[in-house]
């Protein structure tokens, strides 16, 4: 019984994360670097990280990336988005574990690290075509870091409400 409830809960959260990713795909925003998005699904991932744990957050975020990847993007872009997801989740888990910061800093650091990962991958294609490293460091990098902080704080605001309102009892685990 416990196990069924756990699986049902995970399925529900995965559906929510995929749905948020879908909503995001409908909002075209110009953030200069391909793959850099608002990261709305991070609300769901943050909730899972705080209410369940790193293992659950990792499973849900990877499954979400795979599903979104198969629906909206090509296999090449899949590697790109999986690395962004994995790096940002790892950074968020480390910042959370340090115990010094709240969900706001955790989420913002997730946003920053996600964007920097995307920039590093896009940077190779850009440098290959003769883009200046100086321009990448003094334009794309700071803009993406600031965007990561702002979107991260926004996500933390919503995730914080979820974490406070929805209490996960131990019998759900």
């Amino acid at each position: 019984m416990k196990k069924n409830r756990y699986v049902a809960y995970m399925g529900l959260l995965l559906a929510a994360a995929v749905l948020l990713g879908y909503v995001e795909a409908l909002i075209p925003i110009d953030l200069m670097i391909p793959g850099v998005k608002l990261g709305l699904a991070n609300c769901a991932i943050l909730f899972v990280l705080y209410s369940f744990g790193l293992k659950e957050a990792l499973i849900i975020s990877l499954l979400r990336t795979l599903i979104i990847g198969f629906i909206f993007t090509s296999p090449a872009m899949l590697i790109y988005s999986i690395s962004g997801t994995a790096v940002s989740l790892l950074i968020m888990a480390i910042i959370k574990k340090s115990g010094h910061f709240s969900v706001f800093a955790v989420s913002a650091c997730g946003g920053i690290s996600h964007n920097i990962t995307q920039l590093i991958i896009a940077g190779f294609v850009m440098l290959n075509a003769g883009a200046g490293l100086l321009r990448i460091l003094t334009f794309y990098l700071p803009v993406l870091v600031m965007a990561g902080i702002i979107t991260g704080l926004l996500n933390a605001f919503f995730a914080n409400i979820l974490i406070k309102r929805i209490s996960v009892h131990s019998d759900m685990l």
Binding site: A76, G132, P142
Partner: protein
């Protein structure tokens, strides 16, 4: 938010702001009428096309295997009007009109950049 959150995020934000400030200071002034500026097109790091920014043009880039992008040069600016890439990020990146600005289509390994604007720069028109 905790006090430590504000210190951490504030510091990172400030560093980013300073970097951006440096970037904006060293940015070259754009040539007003778009003369001397060229739209340079690269795939996989190799340049395969160069067109003057002040001549209106519509270009079909790529093939079935490479992926297709339609590039429009109009009113001294360039943008991707159509593409068959997933995500359509190159279309969402909008218009570019200043030297150094880029449109990137990552799935197609395509980079479109405006170059020139300096008399010393050696640009050959194909």
């Amino acid at each position: 938010m905790k006090k430590k959150d504000i210190i951490l995020l504030g510091t990172v934000f400030l560093i980013a702001l300073i970097l951006l400030g440096i970037g904006l200071m060293i940015k070259k002034a754009p040539a007003g009428d778009g003369s001397g500026l060229y739209v340079c097109i690269y795939r996989d790091g190799k340049q395969f096309g160069i067109y003057p920014l002040n001549e209106d043009n519509t270009l079909q880039l790529g093939s079935e295997t490479e992926g297709r992008n339609s590039l429009v040069i109009k009113n001294r600016s360039a943008y991707v009007s159509e593409a068959d890439c997933p995500g359509q990020d190159c279309i969402h990146m909008g218009r570019i009109d200043e030297s150094g600005e880029e449109i990137i289509c990552l799935p197609h390994k395509l980079v479109i950049r405006i170059e020139g604007g300096e008399p010393s720069m050696d640009v050959t028109v194909r």
